[in-house]
Amino acid sequence: MAIPKEQLDSVKERVIQIVSQNGAKEEALLQILHDIQADDNSLSEAELLQVARALDIPLSRVYGVATFYSLYSVQPRGKFIIRICESAPCHIVGARAVISAFEEALGIKMGETTTDGKFTLEATSCLGVCGVAPAVMINDEVYGNLTPDKVVEVLAEYDADEA
């Protein structure tokens, strides 16, 4: 599928800047994708193609990396990604109730995004904060010792934020 020229042009400058900041080498690809994704939590086809051009490597290679790692997404996602830990240490202290509480409060299922584009619910493997299980990470912010009641409190913190 051809990507419209205006889309390619609109992302070009930013991509080139990020690539050169990171040293324009393939070994920097992971960091480059982190930086590009920082604005809207996802990587568009236009962005990936511009990265491939700037690094002079095949698009398939860039796409392969973008789809391999779970912190990247090539699908549009919400402004806030709620990653709920589903690993065993969280599971046995109530992660499932936390999942249900988020699903209910937001009216979406795991893997979905709210219609206003504000929240995406994702399952994740261990976040490395099992000392405060069950845990979730909302963008870069981690919340621990969650209960269904606390889920409501946590979401209230994001009330003022526009989608």
């Binding site: 080498k25 393939e26 070994e27 920097a28 690809l29 992971l30 960091q31 994708l33 982190h34 290679r61 392969g64 990396v65 391999f68 790692y69 779970s70 912190l71 990247y72 589903e86 690993s87 065993a88 240490p89 599971h91 046995i92 202290v93 399952a123 994740t124 493997s125 261990c126 976040l127 490395g128 904060v129 099992c130 000392g131 405060v132 299980a133 845990a135 990470m137 870069d140 981690v142 919340y143 621990g144 010792n145």
Partner: protein
């Protein structure tokens, strides 16, 4: 130099931070200023004490009084009572299961007194952001000693110490260094594996946060031994916000001439860069990690060749775990003899464990290898909460074995656990009480492997999915007798034919639970009941 009569150490480890230790620190500073005590008392952020369950943790020196669950109001009370008037705030002391007779220093508490801290020697004692405090506790002395002894001598000491890798595989560290040092080639690399994706493990992060220089010094010594001038720390993507502290530590080491060109006036050059992952458990596997560092998909490589001969960009590379590296400086300083005498023969030293699940003192501990599981759970971990009883412990993380009560006296070291049908792995220790269903938990473990299989080899990609489906079938009470033998055959194939450790060990939890908890499988399959009352005919979506 300024002199303070008291120091307040506030834990700034990941777990306490999440419980609000930042606000506690601010409250201390404000109240100390308000009371006009700022010339006498210093507030310091320190690394993890280990008692994460009771966080935020605060320790007041010189008395070493340990306060638990401190909130900003409590902090003000500690200033007004303890620091201004010398009256300990008893209500905030650690209670555990019983009332304590009097005020204890933190080293006297059961939780700490039974530990032996080598790797965590500075956690909770120094300010990790200040290299001078590390140096004051003999920091970088081992590096100096290593540089004057020469690479061969360093390798010899590490070999003699018997240190085995703490990343999971338990390979002798000295031998690995020897291989890398002998490998032909001018350019060699040292990589510190801080990917730490094993569920239930958070030790590497807390070591790096609590005492970054212990790892940097270990890396410099390792690099000197193998002949590498460039080192990397591969940090998992989810931890990226705690990188700043590490960057700061590396920067300070450079300023002091402990990294960079001509370290400590020798001819040895070495520097460290940080690389950040992007969320893939398999990248903890050393060859996948190297691919990821090269900017590729984190798929494991075929072995041999091993990284020691063909590693990063094809050059000889030594990959070591964070905890392994944090052991190096003490070994060089105290000698191999000293290290060998800690823990059992064949697997000396200490091990850092992370306690999770249904246990009173969830958190981080360091104990001599070979201490029993029972001691860890009951004497240090404070036992099972809410009056429930112990059902199962999984050692070694998601791919570790699941042990029943009958095996509580197993010594916790690499060889004993293997003999008992489990693994030491990364040191994750998940404790489960009797409200849980084995089948339900194993299903959760297998779901993890479905998610994290990289898809490169068929036995793992397909095997993890089929195993998941089979256990789900058992949980839904739809399984038949033949499914059990199917599971066993499939597990064999995965163990034999998977490319890397992920697929090879994924069947472990299901095999060990079939062995140790056969009645639970039988109840689900033959009688259609879940003894713990967790499973019903409801399906579970992966």
């Amino acid at each position: 130099m300024e002199f303070f009569r008291s120091h307040v150490l506030v834990c700034s480890g990941a777990n306490c931070s999440l419980k609000g230790s930042r606000g506690v620190r601010t409250a201390f500073v404000e109240e100390i200023n308000a009371q006009g005590l700022d010339k006498e008392i210093k507030v310091i952020e320190t690394g993890c004490f280990g008692l994460c369950e009771e966080g935020p943790v605060v320790v007041v020196y010189p008395e070493a009084v340990h306060y638990c669950r401190v909130d900003p109001q409590d902090a003000k009370e500690i200033v007004r009572e303890h620091l201004a008037k010398g009256r300990v705030v008893k209500r905030l002391l650690f209670k555990g299961d019983m009332e304590l007779p009097g005020v204890q220093t933190w080293q006297q508490m059961d939780f700490y007194s039974r530990q032996k801290r080598v790797v965590l020697r500075n956690c909770g004692l120094i300010d990790p952001d200040n290299i001078d405090e590390y140096i004051a506790r003999n920091g970088y002395e081992a590096l100096g000693k290593a540089l004057s002894a020469g690479p061969d001598k360093v390798i010899e000491v590490v070999k003699k110490s018997g240190l085995r890798g703490r990343g999971g595989a338990g390979f002798p560290t000295g031998l690995k260094w020897d291989f890398t040092s002998q490998a032909p080639g001018e350019q060699k690399y040292l990589v510190c594996n801080a990917d730490e994706g094993e569920p239930g493990t958070f030790k590497d992060r807390l070591i790096l946060e609590g005492d970054p220089h212990s790892v940097i010094e270990g890396m410099a010594i390792a690099a000197f031994a193998i002949g590498a001038s460039q080192g990397y720390i591969y940090f998992r993507g989810e931890y990226r916000l705690s990188i700043d502290r590490l960057r700061n530590a590396i920067e300070q080491a450079r300023e002091y001439g402990l990294l960079g060109k001509g370290i400590l006036g020798s001819g040895f050059d070495f520097d460290i860069d940080i690389r950040v992952g992007a969320g893939a458990y398999v990248c903890g596997e050393e060859t996948a990690l190297l691919n990821s560092m090269e900017g590729k998909r984190g798929e494991p490589r075929y072995k041999p060749p091993y990284p020691a001969s063909v590693g990063l960009w094809g050059k000889p590379t030594c990959v070591n775990n964070v905890e392994t590296l944090a052991n190096i400086a003490p070994i060089i300083l105290e000698g191999a003899e000293w290290y060998v005498n800690i823990g059992p023969k064949g697997c000396p030293g200490t091990k850092v464990f992370t306690l999770t699940g249904n246990i009173n003192n969830a958190g981080l501990i360091e104990v001599p290898m070979g201490i029993t599981l029972r001691e860890i759970i009951y004497d240090i971990g404070g036992g099972i909460p809410n009056g429930r009883s112990f059902k199962m412990a999984q050692t070694g993380g998601t791919s570790g074995g699941c042990l029943p009560e009958a095996l509580l006296d197993v010594p916790m070291d690499i060889d004993s656990l293997e003999a008992a049908g489990s693994a030491l792995g990364s040191g994750a220790l998940m404790i489960m009480d009797d409200t849980h269903c084995i089948i339900d938990v194993v299903r959760c473990l297998l779901q993890f492997f479905c998610h994290e299989s990289c898809g490169q080899c068929t036995p793992c990609r397909e095997g993890t999915r089929r195993l998941y489906e089979l256990i789900d079938k058992i949980a839904r009470m739809e399984a038949v007798e033949e499914d059990v033998s199917l599971i066993k055959r499939l597990a064999r194939t995965m163990e034999d034919a998977s490319l890397c450790g992920l697929g090879q060990t994924a069947p472990f939890p299901i095999l060990t639970t079939m062995r140790f908890f056969p009645e639970e499988y039988k109840a689900h399959i033959e009688e259609g009941i879940c003894p713990a009352g967790v499973c019903n005919a409801r399906s579970h979506i992966a």
